[in-house]
Symmetry: C2
Subunit: 175 residues, 2 copies
DNA sequence: CTTGAAATACTACTACG
DNA sequence: CGTAGTAGTATTTCAAG
């Protein structure tokens, strides 16, 4: 019943490259593990092992290696924003007054403390930054906008794009 | 080994609680559980129970209830994008040709299939959609742009904002 | 309706082949 | 990598606040 297993030994015992594991060193089984854990990491190790057609200890060793290598950054629970009272999502584009290293550093430091800020990125184009902010409703966003966002250091302009409908929002990408 | 369970009535305080469980029905312990699981869900149930000062069975029941209520949408492993060969992040703003229901539906259906698309939202303002796309490098993005994005149905204009630096990217928001 | 203690079933983990 | 054995955990049962 069992088919031939293409268990090519990963041979990663180079002993000199403990860090910076890349996609290239992942075989078919590692990718299957990652695909599963990206979808549902609450699965037990034995069930995971069965899915990838491996013994439980071997599977566990791979998962631990993937964690230690940093390829698996962590395992977290995803909360439904609406149930958690943060049903509104706003994307804002930010333009700074001056494009100096100090301006950028100051802004970035302050941006991290904005409550509900989920993402903050330096971008090319007509904006310096894009941020995504989760908040309760338009009232609470308006308050945040007036009391916090407009006072972020070095801000020349803030353009807000309210999210009317979330079509797709995933943490998982193809391997 | 997930067993089919009968949904317990969510009535926590009295027999007057509404349908969906919301943030209001969460006590201090539930919030502590959620805060922990948002940060690290690989913790064992006994350790979690100790952290929130509860017995293991009681803690497990709360976690299961939070899952069944939908407040915990899932438990997933977060992959390091760079290690996974998707080190480049691009935010694109999309303007459609026509603002008809069919246009929107067609676009949304097609957008979901774009490889590496992490987010896609309908927004107010000068764009109809914002999408965030993870890809390997500028070459692969250029290919995606030329071969897929420009052929999404009903697209009038696509403006790309390449992410130069990811300041903040989290899945966890305050409770 | 929730909690905690004890008992059972299962799983993670280790040592070894 | 797999098998077997041990330690620890998840999960059920049940009694009580």
């Amino acid at each position: 019943m069992n088919k031939i297993k293409v268990c090519r030994p990963p041979a990663r015992q180079a002993a000199s490259t403990p860090a910076a594991e890349s996609l290239q060193s992942l075989d078919r089984i590692d990718r299957a593990i990652l695909r599963q854990l990206q979808t549902d990491a609450s699965i037990s190790n034995v069930a995971l092992a069965a899915k990838v057609k491996l013994s439980a200890p071997a599977c566990l060793r791979r998962v631990e290696r993937l964690k230690e290598s940093g390829l698996i950054r962590g395992v977290v629970a995803l909360i439904d924003p609406k149930s958690a009272g943060a049903g509104m999502l706003v994307i804002i584009g930010v333009v700074l007054d001056r494009s100096t290293p100090e301006s950028f550093a100051d802004f970035e430091k302050a941006a991290q403390t904005v409550p509900g800020c989920m993402e903050c990125h330096v971008v090319t184009g007509e904006f310096d930054y894009f941020m995504t902010i989760r908040t309760r409703d338009s009232d609470s966003f308006n308050r945040l906008h007036a009391e916090q966002l407009l006072y972020l250091p070095g801000v020349r302009q803030i353009r807000s794009f309210m999210v009317l409908k979330e079509i797709l929002s995933t943490t998982r990408f193809p391997l």
